[in-house]
Amino acid sequence: MANREWPLWEVFIRSKQGLNHKHVGSLRAADAEMAIENARDVYTRRSEGVSIWVVESMNLFASDPSEADALFEPADSKVYRHPTFYDVPDGIEHM
């Protein structure tokens, strides 16, 4: 099996302690270890990160954008989930 392409990896970086990992892009690497090393060189040359996650792209599942309306509709119709839905009498300050 000559010339098999290296798999694609999605890269997630935590920019500093206390923040979540965020998707920054993808790259190709033979295995997870190499993906992390390459991610360091490609995505953190100016100290953009303190931690790296890599996930092989084929293991990532995504929602379908053409069904986004139906998928997120239940949240759109529930305005009472937001504090601004409620009347608070004048004179009440911290609520």
Binding site: A2, E5, G25, S26, D31, M34, R46, A62, P65
Partner: protein, 315 residues
């Protein structure tokens, strides 16, 4: 789900574009939009990668350790830019291997500026100052490009580019303040790179067939001539400040328009270089091909090693 016809999809797509809602990889998009982006982003990626060669030529001969470290960091950034962009191309469904093979076969283009040789150290100054300067003019509006992954890659690229231009201008400034020989070397580099830098913005608007569609799709935000004018207006005063002369006898400030007028670009030269007849076209592609061929065994070995380790783990 009910059937939606193509023209309805196209209408919704254009509506998103007009409202500056970014298009993401899995969203529906017209075939031509996808093709245009694949062509543009892959050309851009190839330019970053081929662009390493003229500068790589001087890394071992940088005049001191500081310049060497800086040039090395700059060239490494360009490799990174190429990689951000190749991964953006892949989000459009293009095959990376094929994309690179298209460069090597001559099917895909890259910026014609990298087909000029780097003859002296001053060329490192001229390239950073003019070539990266022109690239910045092109790339800043691309940060608002309608295609999300391309726009995001451009944000990263632009953050890194400004050091590239400054280090180049610093080299030019230092030489311009140096001995008469050093100043002459800086002037010579400006003479050779000025016109090719103006050509980087592409043909005049009247000749540019893709511009209108790209503007409607908000891939481009400015025409070639607009960007070229912005570059001239920004760069001429910088040359004056360090005592160098822009090699254009027709260059003059127009008080009324608030812009510089400049001479006619040699478009024959431009098309010759685009078609592959520039001074270094063959050399650049040969070098890229050789790098791919000679690195083949390393990539295969890495894959074999990964397979072996995966097997051991599952055993």
């Amino acid at each position: 789900m009910k059937e939606v016809n193509i023209s309805e999809l196209e209408r919704r797509f254009q509506e998103k574009i007009d409202n500056d809602i970014r298009i993401e990889p899995k969203d529906w998009m017209p075939d031509e939009y996808r093709k245009t982006l694949i062509r543009q982003i892959s050309q851009h990626a190839h330019s970053e990668v081929v662009g390493m060669l003229p500068e790589g030529n001087w890394i071992t001969r940088a005049p001191n350790l500081r310049r060497k470290a800086v040039l090395l960091a700059k060239v490494q950034d360009e490799a990174g830019h190429g990689l951000y962009l190749y991964s953006a191309v892949e989000t459009l469904g293009a095959d990376r291997e094929q994309t690179i093979d298209d460069l090597h076969s001559g099917k895909a283009k890259y910026s014609s500026i990298f087909n000029y040789p780097t003859l002296t150290w001053a060329d490192m100054g001229a390239i950073g100052w003019l070539v990266d300067g022109a690239a910045i003019m092109n790339q800043v509006p691309l940060c608002r490009c309608s295609y999300g992954p391309y726009a995001r890659a451009m944000v990263r690229v632009c953050k890194e580019e400004s050091f590239h231009q400054r280090q180049g201008f610093e080299i030019m400034t230092t030489l311009a303040k140096g001995s008469p020989e050093q100043k002459a070397m800086a002037q010579d580099a400006l003479n050779r790179f000025w016109w090719p830098a103006l050509m980087m913005f592409g043909p005049n608007d009247a000749e540019s067939k893709h511009t209108q569609q790209s503007m409607d799709w908000r891939i481009k935000r400015h025409t070639n001539d607009e960007l070229r004018q912005m570059f001239v207006d920004a760069t001429v005063p910088q040359a004056e400040l360090i005592g160098l002369t822009v090699p254009d006898p027709d260059l003059k400030w127009n008080e009324e328009t608030g812009h510089y007028e400049f001479g006619e670009i040699n478009w024959d030269e431009f098309w010759q270089v685009v078609k592959g007849n520039g001074p270094c076209n063959k050399d650049r592609i040969d070098t890229r091909r050789k790098a791919k061929e000679e690195g083949m065994w390393v990539r295969e070995a890495a894959m074999a090693h990964a397979d072996k380790r995966a097997k051991r783990k599952s055993a």
